[in-house]
Structure formats: C-alpha cells, structure tokens
Assembly symmetry: C2
Homo-oligomer: 193 residues x 2
DNA sequence: TTTGTATTGGAATGATTATTCCAAATAAAA
DNA sequence: TTTTATTTGGAATAATCATTCCAATACAAA
C-alpha cells in the first residue's frame, strides 16, 4: 500500500551535512537545502522535522564520522607520536585540498552557535571531553609501552594537542599552505619527547 | 548652519563591534543594530554605509585594539616566556569572565565568513601574518638576549604559539574552566625551554 | 527669532526567511 | 486494474530581512 521513499535518507543527510558545514547554520536557507538536496520542501520537513532538527542530525553525523576517523588512526598506529602525526597531517591535507575551505564543522559550529544555542553547546562540551579522553588515552598507551616518558601527564598533553588541533582547523581556513602547518604540528608534537 | 551629529561615531562603532562580536555577521540584523546602537536606521546608513561596511569597520576596530594589546604586553615584559604567559592568561581570563561567551571576534569571523567573503579573507590573512610576525619577533628578542636557546627557530615557534592561541579561543567557548586552559598554556610554552 | 541644512523617526519597499497546506502524482499491495 | 497510503510540486502564509525614502525635527549661524 504505502508508496516507498523516493530518496535515501542517509544520502540526503550527507548532502545537508556538506552544505551546513560549508555555509554554517544561519547562512544556509531552506531554499538552499531544497535545491542542494534534490528533495521536496515538504519531504524535508516530513523526514527531518525542520531546519534546526536537520542541522542537529547533520552535525551529529559529522561528529560520528570524525570520531570514528580518529579512533581508526589511533588503533592502527602502534607508534603514538606517529599516530598523532598522521592524524594532524590528514586534517591538514583535508583542509588544504578542499577548495571550498569548509574547515572543521565542529569548530565552525562552536564559534557560530555559542553563545545562543544551549542544546548544541551541550553536545559540543561532550564532544570536547570525548576527544580529549581519546587523545589522553592514546598518550597513556604510549606511556604504558615506554614510548613516552612516564613523568608526563597524559591528560594535560591530550588537552594541549586537542587545543592545537582546533587552532590548526581555524588557521587552515586563512592560509592553505600545508608546509607551514606541518611545521607547527612537528613543533607541537615535541611535547611527547 | 549644519546641525551637529547627535552621537559619537566612535562610541556607536564600539557598540556595533560588541554586537557583531557576540552574534556574528549573519545573525545580527539591522533591527538589532538600530535597537542596540541607539541611533536611527537612516543615521546608521548615512554614517556607516550599510551592514557590510559597518561590519568591516567594527571588525577593523577590534583588530586594532587587540593588536595594540599584544604589543603593549610584549613591550612591557622583558622576560619573553613570561610575556607569552601573560598574553595567554589574559586571553583566558577575558574569555572565561565573559558571561556572553563572545570568544575572539577574529576567530569567529574566520570560521563564519570563510568561505564566501573574499574581502574579509584578505584582511584575515594579513592579520595572521602580522600576528605571527609579532610573536616571532618577540621570540627572536628572547633568543637575542640569551633567554631562549639560539638553536630554536623563532618563526616556527611564533606560528605554533599563535596556532595554540587560536585553539584556546575556540575551546574557551565550550569549556570555561580557566585552570584547565592554563595547564594547556604552560605545556605549550614549554617549546621555549 | 529666523534661516538653512543635517538629522531623525518611522513608514514603505521589495526581497527573502521558515513553515504550512493541499491537490495531484505515484507506486506498492489487493 | 483498482485501491490506498504517501510522497511530491508548488502555492500560500506570515514574519523578518536589508535598504530607501520623506516629511518633521532640531540645531548652529545669521
């Protein structure tokens, strides 16, 4: 009886993610979304609820993808300093190869929607704590295996590297020269020596 | 003959700066500005040209103030590592004391208006180069006076500290605990040892 | 006080915003 | 093929957007 959906929800959500990522919440209109997603206005409201709800879904998808990305790098690289280097350099490549200059959706959202959106702010705080823990645990692994001096504090190093990571995500929008950014990374990673 | 202006242009510009700083370009409406600045809609267009022109003026005022602020700290502090520490900790205090969570106007503008606004992007690139030079020259001064090991590269350290600075400006919006941020700063400044 | 010019308040404009609604189209099941 | 639930296109809505315009106001100089 029921007519089946004419589009793949996940596919459309990915397109919405790209658009919000590039333009931000306020500069993206429903009309932009309707045009870009290729679905009808009514379908958009029916399937995703509205602009705010769609933004949140798109944002959560991004978080999920990028968290998984970090985990995969850390899991597959036993040399901890090398693992961080790969993570940072991949982020640099992603930024500098992207002619759109979208940057990092999480960073963009932090600066655009704080202050103002309490719901998003809560998600962002969780995200920060998760990411710092991910970083710190990986440093701790390096301490455990003797790669990193055991007098170091894993949590502090994790926080510091995550902070540097955020800074790179901002500045890669302004200056897309990857070599300069890689030098910054090398210097930042010297905290592990 | 001519009636004199009923308001101080500089004073009004400062109010515009505060509002754009807090809400960003897109989320600030002309009505918001009219209400907040206390001047008439027509006066706003007459005196400042329009929304974009007013934003640019407000943004340049912010850059001017914050550049002067950095210069003053560096000039008045002969101990280079201490000078950086003061700069970072003042930025942290400013962020964590601000209940509005405005963050840094330059960082906010970078993530909101790139991609899209080529004029602003050019200003942001200049700003980055200026700031990195300011940082690097101060590091170089430390090398010249023997405070910092002469094998270090001033430019790289300057860039790395500026990157960390930007990261702090982002994360201070998410987590306003100043002590965590100060630990990050201390670790970051160890590149000077 | 009168004169002349710039400022002012507020209405008007036309574009765009997010959202809702409904008749027509569509496709799976009967 | 008919039935039926759902999607779809596009119009309609009401709010808000940036900007312009003008008559009324207000002030410095005469």
């Amino acid at each position: 009886m029921p007519r089946t959906k004419q589009f793949d929800k996940q596919e459309v959500l990915e397109k919405a993610m790209e658009l919000f990522w590039e333009k931000g919440f306020h500069a993206t209109s429903i009309q932009d979304l309707v045009t870009s997603l290729g679905i009808n206005r009514a379908s958009l409201y029916d399937t995703f609820g509205g602009k705010e709800a769609l933004f949140e879904s798109a944002f959560q998808l991004y978080r999920q993808i990028s968290t998984k990305h970090i985990q995969q790098i850390f899991e597959s690289e036993p040399n901890v300093k090398q693992g961080f280097k790969v993570l940072f350099e991949k982020a640099i490549e992603e930024s500098t190869n992207d002619i759109c200059k979208k940057g990092c959706f999480v960073v963009n959202t932090t600066t655009e929607l704080i202050p103002g959106d309490d719901k998003i702010q809560k998600i962002l705080l969780e995200n920060k704590n998760n990411a710092e823990t991910l970083f710190a645990d990986y440093v701790q692994k390096g301490i455990g295996t003797g790669q990193i001096d055991s007098t170091k504090e894993a949590r502090e190093i994790g926080s510091m590297l995550f902070t540097l990571f955020n800074g790179i995500r901002v500045l890669a929008k302004v200056d897309t020269n990857p070599n300069k950014l890689k030098k910054v990374v090398n210097l930042g990673l010297s905290v592990l020596d």
